[in-house]
């Protein structure tokens, strides 16, 4: 099979269209240019194929294809184009994203394009329907009336029409059907041929199902040959040279080989015609190639086949006249023999370190000198391991230890050998379970399906995809490309029956819910055997729930018992009179949410019900987690695309009850990165825009929010969003740009950051679940939402070049957090607080901490019960005189500036709490009578009540706006001796706005990202506390020992710098000088750093310069060294191999070379 790349000119045109789409944001042709990119038939991604008719003696055939634009279906046209001399265009029928609607892709614009294309001259129109069922087939009657008329008019005037997998009886009329198929189509199974006035029509059946196996592409190649024949005939371009292949029988006996087996007949050849004859085995191996000059216009030739093993083969003939294909034909050949081999695995999967074992059964004659070779092949046809045993028994056992360097998919093959000749063979796939943890991953929503799915998978693998998330079970080609799996196991919702009981059952009904959970878990056995990164409980799911089932009430009572310990405490909180928890009821029997309690102002009763609903969900998650551990002891379980900060979700509970959680991008990310263990998988979904800038902003935000992976929705998509791959299986233009900009992540930065510590400067922020609810009651909403007040602090801190760490009220209650590690703690809109947390914060300040709150700290208890006074009023040195709504007015504060001078900051329209007065505190500003910025020394520490909502303080990030908010925050942070270690200034010497600096520490080396999420490019200077060795990671450039670094801020795209006290040196490599095929070279890579780690990109080159893509591409190593396995297969090339390791920090490369020699046993 040949592999072909696009000619330069085609490429240039394609690149032009791409650049048009990228550059002309508002140009006239934008939408049409995007449609052209979607429908592009020019693909850089080439696949192995047979040149059945390239170049063709009758020249190019212009074909307009109508087909579904989903998945791998459009690639069918590219595949045909690779094999036939076609000049094609495509028109897609597509489903509109996030809907059940289908239509011609591009809607009106798409129909406009279709109309334009139909106005051109075409040799044939082809309608391709997918192989499977369940989706609408594509047929001519789907075209709008006008376009249908246009197309059929061309057909009646002489163009061809091919309908694959569908029909149109209005056009392909039975009365016009050929009673005998034309000679050129006689070997096309299931074809029917028609006349259509002056045109021709062919109907073909749906493509055959093609299961993935090594050599699957041979079946596809043969099917495509049939489609190509149909197109050429319909277009009136069938070859004049008539070729046939006639096997001697339906099955040929191996005992007759070598010998004449097939007769090759031709008519209509010129004297120059040569025939290339090829015998292909079903695994793709070519066993015979013959070139023959036919010499005369017609003739016959007996073709001999060599002695080959039993099995399926194809004999292909391509005849060329002056370099152009003049004819082609293929015939299947089956070789049978009496000695059969059968293979049975004890188990078709194994964990690393376990045994992969099985039995080989032989039948028929077993003579001396016969052996059985049991081999493990990867998808590349590499024989990664083998065992050879004498075929002296009817049943032979074998066992392999599964090595960490084994690929995820092994073809276990047993072959009976007679001397050096293969007699018969049998095979099975086996999975090596790999989960792809402890590395920076790229996760793809859904996986390709259909005949060409393996090629889509290859393209995804080449663009850095490591995992798929989808429903069902992972197909074997995923393992072939070493893709681990995230099964979408269920979707949790809270639908209820007419009695208010959760469907399919109450989450608290132990027996029923356990059976339900176990049923879901048991279905995941195939996933578990593949290798599961995490088990997903679904996306966009309900993350709280309760119902009116008695079991739910019982669980609720138990929950309340845990919360209150005694019934008197509950009665005090609720104002109720229960004598025991067993008596507790809902306020009204059908008020599942206690909405009545909320309306009545009984906030504790309402909050407790809400909190129970979150708890109930968390218990369900725990139940799933436990059940999955039964299936897979290493399992992790959680959910994705659900749970938010803004909805007052129990973020702490989610992290506790699950072992992974990937929310949609938002404020919750800050909490997860703060409280979850480092190995707790977390990320966001992205892919919901189409331009590189906005996509890159999402990508880099994940990196700078401490995610361990990037999750992309979805691998294929057109319309509102774009998939990772375009329909031709090339990455979309924006994806190419993403790949370019994020290359450093795949070159080691991603893995390195997982081993580094994000610097948070001693700044803590409390996440209080009860406060998220308190923000919704009484006059609280007048102060803004809980989330907005938090994000305002985030923005303010990040504008100062600082970062922060969340801790939660539950962590405080459970004694899991050491407050003394914080120099300053912020309490944004923390209105509700339990007595224990109050006391801990009081002690924190008393012992020297700095506590900063905005409005109304701790005016509710931990169950959102309103209190007469704030529980921390003494700490803040204030007293509460009223519980009032926000007062909006013009305020000002006087602060001492850096030079000791007093400066006045105006706060126009500031929202403040007029219900507070200073007692011991000193106010440095006011809005009317309302004090602002109250400071109080308490014990050894200080408490500061800002008494305003900083959401309303403008000007932190907008260029040219006053520095008010920044000055306020600087002053507050100054009280805690917190200052940014790195500063960023613009060309005017002023603080640069709207830029985040995130720092990670790895040993003595600091990794710094400078990130402007939106805005414009700007020249800046990054000032360091002292001179350091500076490396620009993205530019791969050493900037020297510097205390100030000049840089150009690139909006949407984070920049990364390394600051090192000493210049890092390259890693050292140690390898044995030589080994034999079948061995494993263990290369030790050792860091030059005394402390910390270095990331390196590993590349192994074979003697011919090609890259060994089976070797782990990145490694994080330290001074103790890390061993990288370089497995050498039994059939890998001999000669000098080169290992190189490129240091991420410096870009310096170290290399080691070793010789690969032949093992004694020879190959295969």
């Amino acid at each position: 099979m040949a592999t072909r790349r696009c000619p330069d000119m085609k490429r240039t045109v394609f690149l032009f269209l791409v650049s048009l789409m990228l550059a002309c944001g508002a140009c006239l042709a934008q939408d049409m240019a995007e449609l052209e990119v979607d429908h592009s038939v020019r693909a850089g991604f080439a696949t192995p194929h047979t040149d059945w008719a390239v170049p063709y003696v009758h020249g190019k055939t212009r074909v307009l294809f109508f087909l579904r634009g989903h998945g791998t279906e459009p690639r069918e046209v590219i595949e045909l184009q690779q094999r036939f001399d076609l000049d094609p265009q495509m028109v897609f029928w597509a489903r509109v994203i996030d809907s059940t609607k289908e239509g011609w892709h591009g809607a009106e614009r798409g129909v406009q394009r279709m109309t334009r294309l139909l106005g051109e001259k075409w040799d044939a129109f082809v309608f391709l329907s997918p192989g499977g069922s369940g989706v609408r087939d594509v047929s001519p009657d789907m075209l709008p009336g006008e376009q249908q008329y246009q197309m059929l008019k061309a057909v009646t005037e002489g163009a061809g029409l091919v309908i694959v997998g569908s029909d149109d009886k209005r056009v392909l009329k039975e009365k016009n059907r050929f009673r005998q198929l034309p000679a050129f189509l006689r070997d096309v199974d299931g074809a029917s041929a028609f006349t259509i006035t002056k045109g021709r029509g062919v109907r073909l059946p749906k493509p055959p199902a093609m299961e993935y196996r090594r050599g699957w592409q041979v079946d596809y190649d043969e099917w495509d040959m049939c489609v190509g024949k149909a197109i050429l005939w319909a277009a009136g371009k069938e070859p004049k040279l008539n070729l046939t292949l006639q096997p001697k029988g339906k099955e040929l006996s191996r005992t007759d080989l070598p010998g004449a087996a097939v007769t090759f007949v031709w008519q209509g050849a010129s004297s120059r015609v040569t025939a290339d004859i090829k015998l292909r085995r079903d695994d793709g191996k070519v066993l015979l190639t013959i070139k023959r000059i036919l010499g005369k216009s017609e003739g016959a030739l007996d073709l001999s086949l060599p002695l080959v093993r039993s099995g399926k083969y194809h004999l292909d003939v391509v005849a060329r006249d002056g370099g152009r294909v003049a004819g082609f034909v293929s015939v299947p050949v089956a070789i049978v023999c009496g000695q059969t081999t059968d293979l049975a695995l004890d188990q078709n999967w194994a964990e690393i370190g376990q045994k992969l074992s099985g039995k080989v059964r032989l039948s028929g004659e077993r003579g001396a000198g016969r052996r059985v070779v049991i081999s493990l092949f990867d998808r590349r046809d590499r024989q990664v391991a083998r065992q050879i045993v004498n075929a002296d028994a009817a049943e032979l056992s074998f066992s392999f230890t599964v090595e960490p360097w084994f690929p995820m998919l092994l073809e276990v093959r047993a072959t009976l050998m007679d001397g050096k000749n293969e007699v018969s063979t049998a095979w099975q796939f086996a999975n090596v379970v790999k989960r792809h943890r402890d590395q920076f991953n790229f996760v793809m929503w859904d996986a390709p399906h259909g005949a060409l799915a393996p090629w889509a998978e290859q393209s995804l693998a080449e663009t850095g995809v490591k995992l798929h998330l989808s429903g069902g079970s992972p197909p074997s080609y995923l393992a072939a490309y070493d893709m681990a799996w995230i099964p979408y196991t269920t979707h949790i919702d809270t639908a209820k029956d007419d009695k208010g009981i959760m469907k399919p059952m109450c989450w608290a009904d132990d027996a029923k819910i356990q059976a339900h959970v176990d049923g879901i878990v048991d279905k995941q056995a195939p996933s578990r055997q593949h290798g599961v990164f995490v088990y997903s409980l679904g996306d966009e799911i309900a993350v709280r729930g309760s119902c009116l089932d008695p079991h739910c009430l019982a669980a609720y009572r138990n929950y309340l018992r845990e919360q209150y310990a005694n019934i008197a405490a509950l009665n005090t909180s609720w104002g109720s009179y229960y004598s025991s928890f067993d008596e507790v009821q809902l306020s009204k029997p059908d008020d599942n949410d206690e909405a009545g309690a909320l309306r009545a102002g009984n906030f504790p009763r309402w909050f407790d019900r809400q909190a129970y609903q979150s708890y109930n969900f968390c218990k369900l998650c725990e139940r799933f987690g436990k059940s999955f551990r039964r299936l897979d002891p290493q399992s992790r379980c959680g959910f994705e695309g659900a749970g938010t900060f803004g909805h007052a979700d129990d973020l702490d509970g989610f992290v506790r009850a699950n072992t992974f959680w990937s929310p949609y991008p938002g404020t919750a990310d800050e909490v997860v990165r703060s409280i979850a263990p480092r190995d707790f998988p977390r990320a966001n979904w992205m892919g919901y825009t189409k331009d590189a800038d906005s996509l890159l902003e999402k990508y880099w935000r994940m990196v700078t929010r401490g995610c361990d992976s990037v999750w992309w929705w979805r691998w294929d998509a057109m319309g509102r969003f774009h998939g990772w791959l375009a329909p031709n299986l090339d990455p979309y233009p924006a994806v190419r740009e993403i790949l370019r900009d994020t290359q450093i992540v795949r070159d080691g930065l991603g893995d390195l950051l997982l081993s580094s510590t994000m610097q948070t400067d001693g700044v803590g922020i409390l996440f209080s679940h009860a406060s998220a609810y308190a923000a919704r009651v009484q006059s609280s909403p007048s102060y803004g939402t809980y989330e907005d007040n938090h994000t305002a602090f985030h923005n303010a801190l990040r504008e100062m070049g600082l970062n922060f760490l969340y801790f939660t009220d539950r962590q405080m209650r459970l004694g899991e957090v050491d407050l003394s590690k914080f120099k300053v703690i912020f309490l944004p809109m923390t209105q509700a607080m339990g007595a224990q947390e109050v006391e801990m914060l009081r002690a924190y300040v008393r012992n020297g901490g700095v506590l900063v709150a905005d409005v109304r700290p701790a005016i509710y208890d931990g169950h959102v019960k309103p209190l007469a006074a704030g529980q921390l009023d003494d700490v803040f040195g204030v007293k509460r005189v009223a519980m009032s709504a926000a007062f909006a007015g013009n305020g000002s504060v006087k602060l001492s500036s850096a030079g000791g001078k007093m400066e006045t900051l105006d706060l126009p329209g500031v929202r403040a709490d007029a219900g507070v007065q200073a007692t011991q505190a000193t106010a440095v500003g006011s809005a009317g009578e309302t004090p602002l910025l109250l400071s109080h020394d308490f014990g050894k520490g200080r408490a500061m009540l800002m008494n305003l909502t900083i959401t309303g303080v403008q000007g932190r990030s907008a260029k040219g706006a006053p520095e008010t908010a920044a000055r306020l925050m600087q002053w507050v942070l100054g009280q805690a001796q917190v200052a940014a270690p790195l500063t960023l200034t613009g060309t005017d010497g002023q603080r640069l706005r709207n830029v985040e600096i995130t720092r990670w520490l790895n040993g003595p080396v600091q990794i710094v990202s400078v990130f402007r999420h939106h805005g414009t490019a700007e020249t800046a200077e990054l000032r360091l506390p002292r001179p350091l060795y500076v490396y620009d990671l993205k530019a791969r450039k050493y900037l020297g020992k510097q205390q100030a670094v000049s840089l150009e801020i690139t909006p949407f795209r984070a920049q990364f710098y390394v600051l090192a006290p000493q210049p890092p040196r390259p890693v050292t490599l140690k390898a044995v000088p030589s080994l034999t095929t079948g061995g494993v070279q263990q290369v030790t890579m050792t860091s030059s750093l005394a402390e910390g780690q270095q990331a390196v990109k590993v590349q192994v080159k074979l003697p011919d310069g090609s890259v060994a893509d089976w070797v782990c591409p990145t490694v994080v190593t330290d001074k103790r060294g890390v061993v990288v396995d370089v497995p050498v297969a039994h059939n890998d090339p001999k000669g000098r191999w080169t290992v190189s390791a490129t240091d991420l920090y410096t870009g310096a490369t170290a290399t080691a070379r070793f010789m690969v020699k032949s093992s004694e046993g020879g190959d295969r």
Partner: protein, 387 residues
Amino acid sequence: MRKFSLTLTVCFSLVLCSVSQAQVLVSDLGVETGIIGAGAPAHTIGLQRHQQTIVMDTGAQKYALRYVVALDPKNPQAAIPGEGYIGMPEPVGCNWYGGGFFDLQINGKSIGTTLVHSFTGRSSAGRGTTDFVFDTAQAVVRVRFVARAGGDCLFAQALLEPKVEIKSVRVALRCYPSAFVSNADRHVLTSSRDIKQGDRTQLDVAGEGWAFYYDRIYDTGYAGVNQTGAGPCAALWVPSQIGKVGLNVGNYAVETVLDLKPTLCDFRFVFFDHAGRKNEAAKTDFQKRAPALAQELAAFAFTDPGVAQWPLAQKQAEVRRALASVPVDKEAAARYEHWGRELADQLKQLHDGSAGAIMAEADATRTIAQWEGGLADLKLKALLNDI
């Protein structure tokens, strides 16, 4: 260098191709209904929402025009505007407010309280046209929006056929420049001054023939806590048609009230939505173009050539040819004959420009759409019969 030349050639060819085939894509998204819930104006809560949107895609910009009212099942002929009834949800809903930005009042009564007679969109001769036709007690009114292929603005016309004496005509425009925010810094620029947030003022009718609405904080791309700036917007009118213009620059909505001369029946406007463009760039561009646009607007031919010049005789011949291949389809023959008679009358009335021309055009538009749709099917049927 060779590749560069090739690219230029391809680029030029493609632009030529685009220009020669330039057309505005018009899509009718259909009627959407639903019960109006909390958050809507109180007088509409619980009633049925009736909403229809027509999108005109010029290639450079997408304009969506929306008819939105509440309907009371107890009084099905009455339209009850909520915040308005003619909205522009795209390019962005905040600029020319998607929930209602254009309110025409005749003799003090909003035409929006009369249920629209027809709301149609179509594409012809390089332009897209969207019509709102109202048959009110005071006048038959057509509010027409025209987008040109490749264009970045909307030309608008309010055309009246009075039934009673017209004493006053007023158009109230509403926008939320760049974002639905109140922590904003709204400004309106005219040819002679910059009017800041909080100001209420009258414009000099002769000298201030346009307004550029922008927000100094929420410039394009500015990300606030919950909103991101979309970009500014602008309007331009014909000073000679105006009695007075009042401007109220609120911290949320900006209201522009134009008292039109009641002796006239044809009032013209241009609307810009500069979504995606920075204040400064959009302002510079708009200021530069405004004088020429004002002249162009005054002379702009709002007549829809796709209707006015529809070749009835040619179309009837085409139908006859198709019908010859399907002689059994008597129903189609009768239908086309009926339409032909209707259209002949309607087009005559339209060309005469007499009273009733607005309604005649509206009816002709509907019939032509049915004719064209049916003709393709008829021709296809004939072709399939012949295979």
